[in-house]
């Protein structure tokens, strides 16, 4: 390597070392720690045992867990599907109106999400509360009986997950739709495609990058939901997140909590790391910066 190359290398390392070092210490090490702890036993006083063991992982065969893991997965899949399916037509509509109105609608979409996360969920608790107005309205209209519950069931969790993550689906899909060349739709009509055909065969493939991002940013946080099922879901709507928190704070069984977390971590990290590496290489090949 030439002297200049070495100099360049030195400044690169100098610049990268502090953010990378920070993330290594406070992100990478703790994540591996979680995985390691899954192989430790718990001591009865809420601490971590000295021995390495597989017993903690074996405990996960407890019939309770598969049920909760299964519920976590299907709630995440369905909420992701609902987010995507409602976001597509909305993004389509927003990207076709005048730029000025686009900005206004986007602002209206983002504004509620400046409100504290807990308070937004709490708003739903108030909204769905057995003594709340919405319930009263449903009873008056004879849609629901006076004894049925709106809160504390998986459907309530589903609605609130959709509420919380829909903007994160909407924004990337809108960003792709906004860049989409709508003349392609006209070309499709011209070639004999119907409205729906053009939508499915031209528009949807045209925004696939946004769709992919949307799926990732909804599905992954949904898998890790904790506060939402904690506040609007009952025992029949618990997810992995609730179990992790229970094992941590109530039972003080950190190895157990770690084992559950490790499962969740593997489910999240491996696919996203793969996607990222691919994207970085693509960017690198498609246009070097020439610096």
């Amino acid at each position: 390597m030439s002297l200049q190359g070495l100099k360049k290398r030195k400044s690169e390392v100098l610049i990268s070392v502090s953010p990378m070092g920070w993330l290594f210490i406070f992100f990478v090490i703790p994540t591996f720690l979680v995985i390691a702890m899954a192989f430790r036993s718990a001591d009865p006083y809420g601490g971590i045992g000295e021995q390495w063991t597989l017993n903690t992982l074996k405990d996960l065969r407890n019939p309770n867990y598969p049920l909760i893991i299964w519920r976590t997965v299907w709630l995440s899949i369905i909420s992701t599907a609902i987010c995507i399916l409602t976001a597509i037509p909305a993004a389509y509509y927003i990207s076709r109106i005048k730029k000025k109105y686009q900005d206004i609608i986007l602002l209206f979409i983002i504004v509620p999400f400046w409100i504290n996360f807990l308070i937004r969920i709490f708003a739903w608790k108030v909204f769905l509360h057995p003594e709340g107005m919405f319930k009263q309205l449903l009873v008056t209209l004879h849609i629901s009986g006076p004894d049925s519950l709106l809160l504390y069931r998986p459907e309530a969790v589903l609605v609130v997950i959709v509420y919380s993550y829909l903007p994160f689906a909407l924004l990337p899909i809108y960003a792709s739709a906004e860049k989409f060349d709508f003349h392609l739709m006209e070309a499709a009509y011209d070639l004999g495609a119907g409205r729906l055909q053009a939508f499915i065969r031209v528009f949807i493939p045209g925004i696939r990058q946004g769709l992919l991002t949307a799926i990732i940013v909804v599905f992954i946080p949904a898998l890790g939901s904790y506060v939402i099922p904690d506040i609007v879901g009952g025992p029949s709507a618990e997810m992995i997140g609730n179990k992790i928190a229970q094992r941590t704070f109530i039972d003080r069984n950190l190895p157990h909590a770690s084992a559950l977390s490790a499962i969740l971590a593997f489910a999240v990290i491996i696919p996203s790391a793969l996607a990222l590496t691919r994207r970085f290489f693509k960017e690198k090949n498609s246009g070097s910066l020439g610096i």
Binding site: L23, T31, I109, F117, A123, L166, G224, S258, L264
Partner: protein, 256 residues
């Protein structure tokens, strides 16, 4: 061809969906009834109760301390990170890139428990300091992404032009690159600040007995306190958020 009205209706439906619960919270905060099945008259009681609660102010000041200091540190680290990712395309930066992206996709609860285990094994006392470390950790990636976005449009030749016109490397960074990046750095900082204000889950895991932040306090009120007081608090926080966003927008406009 006549356009389908369906996308329009869907957009309207989404907006109604987004605002409905908030409207309910607003009205309930003035309702004398505790759960508000029916309107029992207009009242400011909940607001008075809220303001007489000393603990809230303590939690609020904790929140602000954490938010300001974590923003300051993460803006510096995140900007450095964005600069390295923009400027160098080496194997080291591929690792760096993954390192920056992963915290973004990591569910909060995982980051919370992993940091808890980390602090526990280091025998660090849980409190404001551990919360600060956690907040910096999740903010770096967001700042880096926002600043990197601004970098993507940065024409490197304007930096070269400054060198060409006699500026040293550091002068060019100070006079040309940083002013250009400023909107991105400000936006990244604002994002880090709001994320820190907003965070509950991670804070919940790494907080100690004496380090209650506002979201933690809200959570305990939800569990044990009067819901109507939280309604009142929500309204105040919403208004506060609006004021902060409005002011920062104005400030950015003046700068432009």
């Amino acid at each position: 061809m006549k356009r389908s009205r369906f996308p329009f209706y869907m957009t309207i439906a989404i907006l109604v969906f987004f605002y409905l619960p908030i409207v309910i919270v607003f009205t309930q905060s003035f309702n004398a009834s505790r759960f508000g099945g029916t309107w029992k008259g207009f009242t400011f009681d909940w607001y008075f109760k809220l303001f007489s609660d000393k603990n809230i102010w303590h939690a609020f000041s904790n929140t602000l301390i954490i938010a300001f200091s974590s923003t300051a540190v993460s803006v510096v680290l995140g900007t450095l990170s964005a600069f390295a990712l923009y400027k160098y395309k080496t194997k080291l930066q591929i690792t760096h890139n993954i390192l920056v992206y992963l915290p973004l996709v990591m569910p909060d609860i995982l980051m919370g428990i992993s940091l808890l285990l980390f602090f526990v094994s280091l025998k660090l006392e849980l409190g404001l300091f551990t919360i600060l470390l956690a907040h910096i950790t999740f903010s770096i990636s967001y700042v880096a992404m926002v600043v990197l976005g601004r970098f993507q449009d940065f024409d490197y030749s304007i930096f070269e032009a400054a060198l060409d016109l006699g500026a040293t490397w550091w002068t060019a960074v100070k006079k040309i690159m940083i002013p250009y990046l400023m909107p991105g750095i400000a936006a990244g900082g604002l994002l880090a600040f709001t994320l820190s204000l907003d965070d509950f889950v991670i804070t919940f895991f790494v907080s100690g007995p004496d380090s209650t932040t506002l979201p933690l306090y809200i959570y305990s009120m939800m569990r044990h306190g009067s819901p109507s007081v939280i309604n009142a608090l929500s309204v105040i926080m919403v208004l506060f958020t609006f004021v902060v966003v409005f002011i920062s927008k104005k400030l950015l406009e003046v700068k432009e």
